[in-house]
């Protein structure tokens, strides 16, 4: 390219410039010999987000990711452009806001009449979308095959197996040779085959776009496993059904595991919120941490069972360990109190801090006849007084532990 070509590019009134501004999905960037930005246009701004005034004079390295700039990639690219006249490459570029995009970049050296490089033209095009599609296409089969925990296979509208992955082999014990070309009903139990389950699944999947279900499937050794299955139809461009894809996994083990996990969790929860019998007929339930509905339900249950077991008359709900009272927590508390009352037990709220009192009033929460105290000591005193009063005169029920 000649000197005047570059001059033409910079002349705002030239037709060339007008054409350049009209190109918006390419960036055509003029760089000087020191690789600083010399000319800019709308397309470059759209691609990189830099307005002309901000970028002019800055090094081309600003478009490169930090690691690449650090290892001298900009210089390498430009040198290649100078050496070969034209250098095409693909790589990551960085926008003004720091986001990266995959780009196709061409560096063309601009020489003066003496043949010396006095600048470069860098064109860049955003390839992000193309890159994603390519990756997807190339690696789908690889990914599917590497999935070992899920059975993934395809079968035709005729029910014959067309593909088989590692997971399917692991789950059923069948090798690809043993199943490809065979009918899918070989994995179904006799009862299910007779009941026409497979046909119903295929019809439903074709009709609704997808089907999820659970059922027994058979392994090579004849044993059964309980599977969670997703069946999807495969259609060609015309929308014709060309087959099905089935993804399945063995649920048997997981259900056992989940049950054990739930059991452990319940046991831990039990241990972490003990109901304490502090006096004859007086129970304390220290509430610690947050109260979601699941936890609140379990706490209420254990409290009520303790009330029945210990014949408690008063229960102190200590909330000093609850970080904040919102309407949800208050709701759970009031429900617990109401249920305890139905069993004849009076509740006292203790550990009410000044900010708690403020929150409760500000939130408009009505505690009704629920008594509350700041300290556990005060609550206990009140509790003992109530028990004494309730035991009534002449009943002799004042027995203390």
């Amino acid at each position: 390219m000649a000197d005047d070509a570059v001059a033409v590019v910079e002349d705002p009134d030239s037709r060339y410039r007008q054409i350049m501004d009209a190109i918006t999905d390419y960036a055509v960037i003029g760089l000087d010999a020191a690789s600083a930005v010399r000319s800019w246009h709308a397309g470059a701004e759209q691609l990189t987000q830099y307005p002309a005034e901000e970028i002019t004079g800055r090094s081309v390295a600003v478009f490169y990711p930090a690691e690449d700039a650090a290892r001298g990639l900009p210089e390498t690219d430009l040198r290649a452009g100078a050496a070969a006249g034209r250098h095409e490459t693909t790589g990551w570029l960085v926008r003004r806001d720091g986001t990266q995009f995959w780009a196709s970049v061409v560096f063309t050296a601009v020489r003066d009449r003496a043949g010396k490089v006095n600048g470069y033209v860098m064109t860049a095009r955003d390839l992000t979308r193309w890159r994603e599609q390519e990756l997807t296409l190339r690696s789908v089969e690889q990914m599917v095959d590497s999935i070992a925990d899920f059975e993934v296979f395809r079968f035709g509208p005729d029910g014959r197996v067309r593909s088989w992955n590692q997971g399917a082999q692991r789950l059923t014990g069948y090798t690809p040779d043993e199943v490809i070309g065979q009918h899918v009903s070989m994995f179904y139990t006799e009862e299910d085959v007779r009941a026409g389950l497979l046909e119903r699944e295929m019809t439903a999947a074709a009709r609704d776009g997808s089907l999820e279900g659970e059922g027994w499937r058979l392994r090579k050794d004849g044993t059964r496993f309980w599977a969670n299955v997703v069946l999807s139809p495969i259609r060609d461009d015309q929308g014709e059904l060309t087959g099905y894809v089935k993804v399945a996994r063995d649920l048997t083990e997981r259900r056992e595991q989940d049950r054990l996990v739930r059991q452990q969790r319940d046991e831990i929860l039990e241990l972490s919120t003990p109901v304490i019998q502090v006096w004859d007929r007086v129970l304390i339930l220290p509430l610690i941490g947050t109260l979601d509905s699941g936890r609140a339900a379990r706490l209420t249950e254990s409290l009520l069972h303790r009330i029945a077991a210990d014949q408690a008359e008063v229960v102190i709900l200590d909330i000093s360990g609850v970080p904040s009272i919102d309407t949800g927590v208050a709701q759970h508390l009031l429900e617990t109190v109401a249920a305890a009352r139905l069993m004849g037990t009076v509740s006292i709220l203790s550990g009410v801090r000044p900010d708690t009192a403020q929150s409760i009033v500000h939130l408009g929460i009505e505690l009704g006849s629920l008594r509350s105290r700041t300290s556990l000591k005060d609550a206990l005193q009140l509790a003992l007084g109530l028990v004494e009063a309730r035991s009534g005169a002449g009943n002799g029920a004042g027995a203390r532990a």
Partner: protein, 124 residues
């Protein structure tokens, strides 16, 4: 069945309209006849108290009170208590207790309290 000065009414099994009617008749006539001061309605054998049963209880309590006696519902089971709260049945103005003995004590205190001028609407 008497428990001291109180009448013990035990609700059990399936409560259909006929049974309920019969219970109501028995309770009201017994209170009138014996002059019992209180009725203890024992529901400890009920593992389900739906809104129908809750209504039966509410009506029994009203009848008892109209006859000048006090009523207490005793023996509501934990799971039933939770269910009732969820159903929105509060029974807030009724005396409750874990069992008949506790119920008796409560009613006695209620009577003593009433005579001492303490308000009736705070049964606990």
């Amino acid at each position: 069945m008497r428990m001291g000065p109180d009448l013990l009414v035990t609700l059990q099994g399936d409560l259909d309209d006929l049974t309920v009617e019969s219970i109501e008749r028995q309770v009201t006539s017994e209170i009138a006849r014996t002059g019992a001061h209180g009725a203890l309605i024992d529901v400890s054998s009920l593992d389900v108290v739906d809104s129908f049963v809750a209504r039966v209880l509410a009506r029994l309590v009203r009848m008892v009170r109209l006859l000048g006696a006090d009523a207490a519902i005793v023996g509501i089971r934990p799971a039933v208590a939770i269910t009732l709260v969820e159903l929105g049945v509060s029974m807030a103005d009724v005396t409750t207790a874990l069992n008949a003995e506790q119920g008796m004590t409560r009613l006695r205190r209620l009577r003593a309290g009433t005579s001492a001028g303490i308000r009736h609407d705070d049964p606990q």
